[in-house]
Symmetry: C2
Subunit: 651 residues, 2 copies
């Protein structure tokens, strides 16, 4: 069977951005310049043209953006994302006979050939366009007759090449000759915070102003100025719900809790309520809403932790037994990873026949807290719940409230972490926590930023969490804490810390495990919130630098620079719109001073090889004048393990 479109000669392929052939949208943020691109070509030597068409979900009509040729049959158009939500885009291409004729005419004229017949062909093209084009008919016929009348071929060629004619002829296409790429792809526009955020995690129950007391939301209000002053804009709490009393864990995850042990906040639910209730010792819903408002005044958003799992005494277990697995002996199935057992936690059974009600109920938890004013959720262990649920739930919530952000706390296998990003998570925990050497960091950042991942997986770099004390911090002490936070904050525009222990350099492990001993997960701490350490000071400086430098507000603009020493990593971050150019060099050896020649990619910074330029270290304030691409840096980890150089031309 012959296809119905045999005259269409233009081919379109490799359309970008696309995620899994359009099964998922590509993620961008508002006011981002999104490059829509494709490989577009025709047989033969004819000129072609192409346009992208975009339509926001709120729009009724498609808007056309002409594409431009870049190199090797690659064409691009820039979409400036104006609104949150979904944009669809599609691509069309066609053989451009007028431009083909125009270029041939010019070459023949330049080669001194007779162009009389050529001009007749052009006149035919204009007249033919006029016959199909009501709006521009008069202009087209007028141009045709002008070319006819002009006796000087040079003038005729000049008129044929005029931009006015080009503009009108661009619009003139025969539908039967236009190739439409068969797939419409989707882009999801999220708010800026999805791409640029700075997280501080604390346990509200440890926020009291003295020992022996259970911290409250009101105590946290008192801490807000401190968090804001340090430059954090998301304050994230572990779950704030009633904590299970049955099979409650004691200190250091012991199987039996003492009478005063508060339990793990992730063992959710007891006789007082579940995922929509607040642990009474923290305060009331009113207190919580008031905290959200106070934080907002200081530019800080409160992020909640949602862990879809239940303590054995969670009300769901009695109200909806069909959402759990039951064993032949009549007991409920707790979480396990044989032979390990987690008796304080019951997982939901996502294969339940009552899955629709389960999904609706789980979604209603988010709805409840969105109504209370929360717009940022950190989701606990999303990789142990059905992927289909996430895709549906996040889609539903964001359709109504596109400003809601979901962070996936999944430290698991690569394909699973990728899928959660595709399913809609706006940010994801990452392997940064265990990437330490120069090669590891460069390879990981290259994978994140230069592959298809860039459009569905937005990393959030955490040097530590309440669950993870990586060996680098245990072994490297304060210096390592400083190096790792500088790396996190400058490699990724989203980063976060489990704050108090990090600031205070606490790093004693639980035996051979990569975990904190005397973990705050199982006990209330009494931090000295008035203490301000060298680590805290540098965190504050780095966060200020992030706010002041647009180049640090996106993760995708990184380019690594060659260095002469494997202990020194160097990378360039640039922001075209504001000409904000940074060169960052970090000593990865937290015990010894290291030096290296670094090769700055000057062309990327718009600086000539023999042009002097000024670099200002934003951490120390020192200024240097450099020339050429090779320059020497030396970094002492006991003083400051990094330079964050702002690079400026000297005029």
């Amino acid at each position: 069977m012959i296809q119905s479109s045999g005259q269409k000669r233009v081919i379109i392929t490799n359309v970008s951005p696309r995620v899994e052939e359009g099964r998922f949208p590509a993620k961008v943020v508002v006011n981002e310049d999104v490059t829509l691109s494709a490989d577009i070509f025709s047989d033969g030597h004819d000129e072609i043209a192409a346009s992208a068409y975009i339509k926001h979900a709120d729009d009724t009509a498609w808007s056309e953006i002409p594409m431009t040729f870049v190199i090797n049959d690659h064409w691009e158009a820039i979409l400036k994302t104006g609104k949150l939500g979904f944009y669809d885009f599609k691509i069309e291409g066609w053989v451009d006979h007028y431009t083909t004729w125009k270029k041939g005419l010019k070459k023949k004229f330049d080669a001194g050939q007779d162009i009389a017949v050529e001009l007749l062909i052009g006149i035919e093209l204009l007249e033919e366009a006029a016959a199909h084009n009501v709006d521009d008919k008069a202009s087209l016929l007028s141009w045709a007759s002008q070319i006819k009348r002009l006796t000087d071929p040079k003038e005729a060629v000049a008129l044929a090449l005029s931009p006015d004619i080009a503009g009108v002829m661009y619009k003139h296409r025969h539908p039967e000759l236009v190739t439409q790429f068969p797939v419409t792809y989707r882009i999801e526009v999220e708010r800026l915070k999805a791409a640029f955020s700075t997280w501080y995690e604390l346990f509200p129950r440890s926020a009291a102003d003295g020992p022996g007391k259970h911290g409250t939301f009101k105590d946290v209000v008192r801490l807000l100025p401190r968090v804001a002053k340090m430059g954090f804009d998301v304050l994230y709490f572990p779950p704030i719900h009633p904590i299970g009393e049955k099979n409650r864990k004691g200190k250091n995850n012991s199987l039996t809790a003492g009478p005063d042990d508060p339990g793990s906040p992730w063992a959710i639910g007891n006789r007082l309520g579940g995922h929509k209730a607040i642990h009474p010792q923290l305060g009331t819903l009113k207190d919580f809403k008031s905290l959200i408002k106070e934080a907002e005044k200081l530019g800080v958003e409160i992020a909640m932790d949602i862990a879809y799992q239940c303590a054995p005494d969670h009300p769901y277990v009695k109200e909806h037994p069909q959402w759990f697995k039951w064993r032949p002996d009549g007991t409920v199935q707790y979480a396990e990873n044989p032979p390990k057992k987690y008796e304080d936690i019951l997982p939901f059974n996502f294969e339940t026949e009552d899955w629709e009600n389960l999904w609706q109920e789980l979604k209603s938890v988010i709805d409840y807290w969105v109504d209370a004013g929360i717009r940022v959720f950190r989701i606990d262990n999303p990789h142990t719940k059905a992927f289909g649920f996430w895709q549906w739930m996040i889609g539903e919530v964001r359709t109504k409230n596109p400003e809601v952000i979901f962070l996936a706390e999944a430290f698991t296998r690569p394909r699973i972490m990728e899928r959660l990003g595709k399913a809609g998570f706006n940010q994801s925990y990452s392997y940064f926590t265990w990437r330490n050497t120069k090669q590891e960091l460069e390879e990981y950042l290259t994978e994140l930023t230069k592959t298809e991942m860039r459009y569905f997986y937005r990393p959030n770099f955490w040097p530590n969490t309440p669950d993870i004390l990586p060996p680098a911090l245990t072994q490297g002490g304060d210096n390592a804490h400083i190096t790792r936070v500088i790396l996190a904050a400058t490699l990724s525009s989203n980063y976060g810390l489990y704050g108090p222990v990090y600031e205070f350099g606490i790093n004693a492990p639980h035996g051979a495990k990569e975990e904190y001993i005397d973990n705050e997960k199982y006990e209330i701490k009494n931090w000295d919130w008035n203490r301000y350490t060298r680590i805290g000071d540098i965190i504050t400086r780095v966060n200020r630098i992030r706010k002041q430098n647009p180049a640090l507000q996106t993760t995708w603009n990184i380019e690594f620079a060659t260095t002469s020493n494997e202990q020194i990593i160097c990378y360039v971050k640039t922001d075209k719109a504001t000409h904000n150019n940074l060169v960052i060099a970090v000593n990865l050896d937290v015990f010894n001073t290291q030096g290296a020649h670094v090769k700055i990619p000057l062309p990327k910074l718009g600086i000539g090889y023999d042009e002097p330029y000024q670099v200002t270290d934003l951490l120390s304030g020192s200024t240097y004048q450099w020339t050429g691409d090779y320059n020497y840096v030396e970094l002492n980890p006991y003083q400051m393990p990094a330079h964050i150089f702002k690079v400026e031309k000297i005029y």
Copy 2:
């Protein structure tokens, strides 16, 4: 809206092989082991299982091939292609509750935990399967009651883990829990020659046995034993049709032909006929069919050149003027690339409104020669004809005659050459002709064999053609001819030569152009077919080695080895089925002896690092005993620029 399949927890992604998301089939050959693969995983810690389903176009039912886990959520199944034509395949995955239970049971038993309740769960699983499974009901119930009765937990565990139960339980799935990947992908199975062929190109008109005579098909019959003896299995002719007399080109592409000038065979058609006629001086259709048969007896296939273009006196121009472009002065549009003109050639206008008849007529040319016995076509300049036409035409021809092979003669931009492969061409000319350095060759072969291209673009390496005399051959003389043909013949399982000039080392260029002077395209040559050169001798040896070593009969099995000298390239080719392992080292410096340490990837050859092994140079017959992975080679381009080592274990 909630999806209808909320209980399905398994995710399937990155299915391979697929070409442009299934818009084109993946190419393989008959009796090839095709790896069907996907990334497959579920949430949580449950075990999963997956199967591929395949169906040949002739089959009515799907066959199941269980997939096996490889690494990192990657699963594979092997499809052994038994028949020419199309196979469809699709992939399914499901949570495997029985295996999950079985593994947990074993771990708990090994850890000394009480497994009484666990065994009850397993019995439930077996009984539940029995309730849904008529065929295996009795066995399942019997196993369930055996487990119930066994008092020794060790025996119960052993029975639970038995392969018999595993086999039956593998078949037992709840459809509502099975994930089916939504796309069915297609594989096209071609005959072996599509992947392994050795081409010799000659002009039949130069086949006469003395000067001043026009060669004939009968003369070519006389040359067949010579071609076969040299190891070629495809003998390819430039077009054999009547040659245009209007605007005929003279010697060296001059604009005016003398009365005795035969013209270019690519200027097709005159008063005697067009694409379905034979130039009378070559012989009759009967002679041609007889030649095809004689060649077949010697294992040589005749390949025809199809150039879809017309001389100005081709009968089509009068019979189907609507297939050409006409200028306002009433003249027909010849081929041009302004300001250059090609007045002996008229292109078809693929935008003609009569395109359906044009397509049918062009296809009928292929049908005509297929009827005459031709099964291999070299298509001239396919990139100047509509891609849609190729896809349709090749599809139609191969549906009826899946053994037909089309070689795309396109030396143009990468995306265009790729698209021709996707459109159905079974082989493609390649950039090998201009890839000379070690880095160029390694990068190009890696692109061809390790990217998606492997499934849609099957390269054919030509060191020269009548159109192209590359600088390497002009500058490097006989030594370069030898080095380049050894590279072509061992890097690619499909390769070809424009034969006589190559064997005889003719390499005088046309001025600064990368073309032969006194080109056979425009004149009849009288070659001394009895001459046998050093180049010809080595070609013969290499072709024999190709026939005897399966490792050289596919292009996809290459792995490059590190060498200590950029002038020495080294690669390993292995064939698992026959344990045929080759190490090939070539000196790229055609003027000087070069030596290098080469690092043989011994694990790939199944040889231990301290195990002695024997290497036999198939070019010279010399045998060496080596140990370890680093070994020294030294190659003199005036003697033999390469080793083709066959590697064998010593027992």
